[in-house]
């Protein structure tokens, strides 16, 4: 999923207090899974804003609503459209995609982000999410035993490891970050494919990545 973390409270509050009535809009997909912007988190943030407003003598009314996904037009139904019309501003708890999409749906409203979008990741255990994919546009993980060197190696080395791999950890953060190349080595060893790592991987074509410009996918067969 796309992972995100809620922004510092003060930053969000500064946006909310500029308006009299604000809609806090949650998203039921990625940010729900990484516990940053789902229905529950909307409720918590709403309570916090109400408490803070009372403490500081600000008058802010918070409306709460959560839709299945903020990155699909079909979920911006009549209910949410009506609610949006009643408020002065929207605070979206969706990822960066959702915030922008919401902005496009309600062009006359300012839409503030309430989370900082981070990475494509997986749930390692409840409460812990870890980066797995860099969206490089040309997936090569099978050559590395299923461990992506682009996303999981701090230097994106295709012919790693570097000299900073120590006891399976990466020198950039030896307490928390595993060395991707140790993982690749272990995996390939288990698979009996270590000899494949002796091949020199050629230069990567980064034009499929964001470096080539903002990307679009078109399926002509699917367009109505």
């Amino acid at each position: 999923m796309i992972t995100a973390e809620r922004k510092p409270f003060e930053e969000i509050y500064e946006c909310a207090k500029r308006h009299k009535r604000v809609l806090l809009l949650g998203c039921g997909t990625c940010v729900t899974v990484c516990m940053a912007g789902g229905e529950k988190e909307v409720g918590i943030l709403a309570s916090q804003i109400r408490l803070a407003a009372r403490e500081r003598g600000d008058e802010i009314t918070i409306d709460e609503h959560t839709i299945t996904r903020q990155c699909d037009a079909e979920f911006f139904d009549e209910a949410i459209t009506r609610k949006a019309a009643e408020v002065d501003a929207i605070i979206s708890m969706g990822c960066g995609v959702g915030v922008q999409f919401c902005s496009e749906r309600f062009p006359d409203k300012i839409v503030y982000p309430a989370v900082n979008t981070k990475f494509y990741g997986a749930t390692v255990e409840q409460g812990v999410w870890s980066e797995r994919c860099a969206g490089c546009g040309e997936c090569i993980v099978a050559a590395f035993g299923g461990v992506c060197p682009v996303a999981r190696c701090s230097k994106s080395l295709l012919n790693g490891p570097c000299g900073g791999s120590s006891e399976g950890m990466c020198e950039v953060d030896p307490e928390h970050t595993q060395c991707a190349w140790q993982l690749i080595y272990d995996r390939m060893e288990k698979l009996g494919r270590l000899d494949e790592l002796e091949e020199v991987q050629p230069l990567k074509d980064w034009s499929h990545h964001r470096d080539g410009g903002p990307r679009t996918i078109v399926r002509e067969d699917m367009k109505l």
Binding site: K155, L158, N159, S165, V172, K204
Partner: protein, 316 residues
């Protein structure tokens, strides 16, 4: 080792191909535009080494560029080994820099991945890593021997112009102490396959582990395909030894060395003694073609060390 025609005409290459034990050292450029610092350091090293490595934003701290300082080093009568990391430059910038370095008279290039910018003084910068060190070696070899850029274009100004390729002596780094240990010799093999001419290793304190690594290297016949210069960094204090052991990734310092420094009256002298012993040991290990003395911010001490270790005079 085949006595092939010189690939680059570099002095370092000449010393190595003639079978003599080579000596290189490191010169850290200043964190400013101060040229005198370089001239001073160059003065300490002139006549003491065959070539001197000019670091490239080492530990991700901004310093004068390797090529810039390299020009000064040349003026001061030293032969530079330019270092290029993959952290700060993409393939365009690197190839461009290599053409420039060659045009300015530099003949040796060391290819490195580069310390992550998190360690340095600009941790918020974007990092590049368009290529890794092995791809960099391959790219330089392509420029020199196939006379093409990474994209395949010939290295000539126009279709009618002559090809003028950068004929550089290509180096890579090796760390005999990093993990995964069984893979280290394989990685060296990859660098050799990619086209490395010489290797400079991370500084050695654990002689046992280094010998084991050299065994693996020799088992693959790599010592006959590439010149290996063993890294030495003289320890100057117990604190320095402990720092190297604990804070520098990919480095081990055995306890017996720290004990010696602790027991010694003058730790700096003891550290130099240890370094000299190491140099003698390294000369005896088959496959080791020289030493690379990395006296960080202590370039002044290299001359005395080289002399006591019997490395002087250097060949003409």
């Amino acid at each position: 080792m085949n006595a092939t025609l010189q690939k680059s005409g570099s002095r370092l290459e000449a010393v190595l191909t003639s079978g003599q034990f080579a000596v290189t050292a490191e010169l850290g450029p200043p964190k400013s535009a101060d040229v005198d610092v370089i001239r001073q350091k160059a003065g300490y090293l002139r006549g003491v080494v065959d070539a001197v490595n000019i670091t490239d934003n080492q530990t991700a701290i901004v310093r004068m560029s390797s090529i810039g300082a390299g020009v000064i080093a040349l003026q001061e009568g030293l032969e530079p080994v330019i270092q290029i990391t993959c952290r700060d430059r993409n393939r365009l910038a690197i190839q461009s820099d290599v053409l420039g370095a060659y045009a300015l008279g530099m003949r040796n290039i060391l290819c490195l991945s580069g310390d992550h910018q998190k360690f340095g003084n600009h941790p918020t910068s974007k990092n590049v890593y368009d290529l890794d060190s092995i791809q960099l070696v391959m790219m330089l070899k392509g420029m020199r021997d196939d006379k093409v850029f990474a994209c395949g274009d010939e290295i000539r100004n126009t279709k009618k112009s002559p090809i003028v390729e950068p004929r550089v002596f290509i180096g890579a780094a090796a760390n005999p102490f990093g993990d995964p240990f069984p893979f280290r010799a394989v990685r060296l093999a990859k660098k050799v396959k990619a086209g490395a001419d010489f290797i400079q290793t991370q500084c050695i304190y654990d002689m046992e582990r280094f010998r084991k690594w050299m065994e693996q290297v020799r088992a693959r016949g790599l010592h006959e395909k590439v010149y290996i210069l063993a890294g030495i960094t003289p320890l100057r204090s117990v604190k320095m030894a402990e720092y190297m052991r604990d804070k520098v990734a990919g480095l081990t310092v055995p306890d017996h060395i720290i004990e010696r420094l602790n027991r010694a009256e003058n730790a700096e002298e003891e550290g130099q003694k240890i370094a000299i012993e190491q140099i003698h040991e390294l000369r005896e290990i088959p496959g080791v073609s020289g030493v690379h003395i990395m006296a960080i911010e202590a370039e002044k001490t290299v001359a005395a060390l080289a002399e006591k270790a019997g490395l002087l005079p250097r060949p003409a």
